[in-house]
């Protein structure tokens, strides 16, 4: 309700237990694609379960025997996230020779940035492209 930290220069960062586990040195595990949630890995799936269990709204819903709120919130969040990048997802799906590998790479790049708290595109690794070749 009141963001006192922003006034002293501490910006809000989206964090989850998957990122916490990563900073504790836990490896990715193998890559998996979950129904509704989409791409993930073993560590982030475990982190996601912990995030959902400890979410205050979800915990309150469970205590009030209103468990149906959990999948409804999950589906709404998933749809909201997808709608933000729908043009890019469609472009990737329609134009990939290996869509699975493209999604996997996108997922790992995005997660790496989230774990390192990189919210600036300029810090993404620069590919070594030789202009002289043109």
């Amino acid at each position: 309700m009141i963001d006192v930290a922003e006034k002293i220069g501490l910006e809000q960062q989206q964090e989850d237990f998957g990122q916490t586990l990563a900073t504790w040195g836990i490896g990715d595990g193998f890559y998996i694609v979950l129904p509704i949630f989409g791409p993930s890995n073993i560590r982030d799936t475990a982190g996601m379960i912990l995030t959902y269990v400890t979410d205050p709204v979800n915990a309150y819903a469970i205590s009030e025997n209103e468990e149906w709120i959990l999948p409804a919130r999950t589906a709404t969040n998933a749809l909201d996230q997808r709608s933000r990048i729908i043009d890019e997802v469609n472009a990737l799906r329609n134009n990939s020779i290996d869509y699975y590998a493209a999604v996997r790479s996108s997922y790992y790049q995005n997660r790496k940035a989230a774990i390192l708290n990189i919210d600036d595109n300029s810090q993404t690794p620069l590919p070594l492209i030789s202009i002289e070749f043109e």
Binding site: D87, E88, L92, I97, A102, N121, T124, E134
Partner: protein
Amino acid sequence: MKLFSIIIFFIFFNTQQISANEASNWLKKEIDIILNSYKNTNMSKETRFLIVEDTINYNFAGAGIAKFVAGDSWVLANKENKKKYIKLFKRHLALNISSMMEGYSHQKYQLKNTDFDSHSKVSLIEMEIYHDNGSLTVTWRVKKSKERYYIIDLLVANISLVITKRSEFNSMLKNINNSLEELNILLEQQNKISYDKIIN
């Protein structure tokens, strides 16, 4: 001595700012060519794609990106396959970018920050795309060579198009023994599918 240092700093800072602004103005002009072609309803889909493809091929470092994406397979391939691969990859890149830009044509955009990294000599131009439910930052990496600019990468939500393409192509190349000749066949088929989706 102190005054001299200050003058040198300002000259250096201004030169960097001029380079960044020059790149930003150039990029805005090129993006508008693409987006305006989508807004022109009198144009046929084939003509529109050809305009977009020409603009992308002229402005992207297509051959350099193609070489980077091919990875180790590039060294193993012969001259003929390399030439064919570059041609097919340039069309593949144009199909990818035009497919994405088509979605942006109905949304407002604004070029925001422009930075020049003097170490890598790359300008980073941030473009904010405004959706109904928020905005998305797309960053263009631009490099100057022989008195003109080339786009070397496109970043959406910290995801690099070039690095994603490299992973995608390497995954495919592993299945076909790193043969660029085989990849050319697959790429030609995919380009045909993608082209048909854009045209129809």
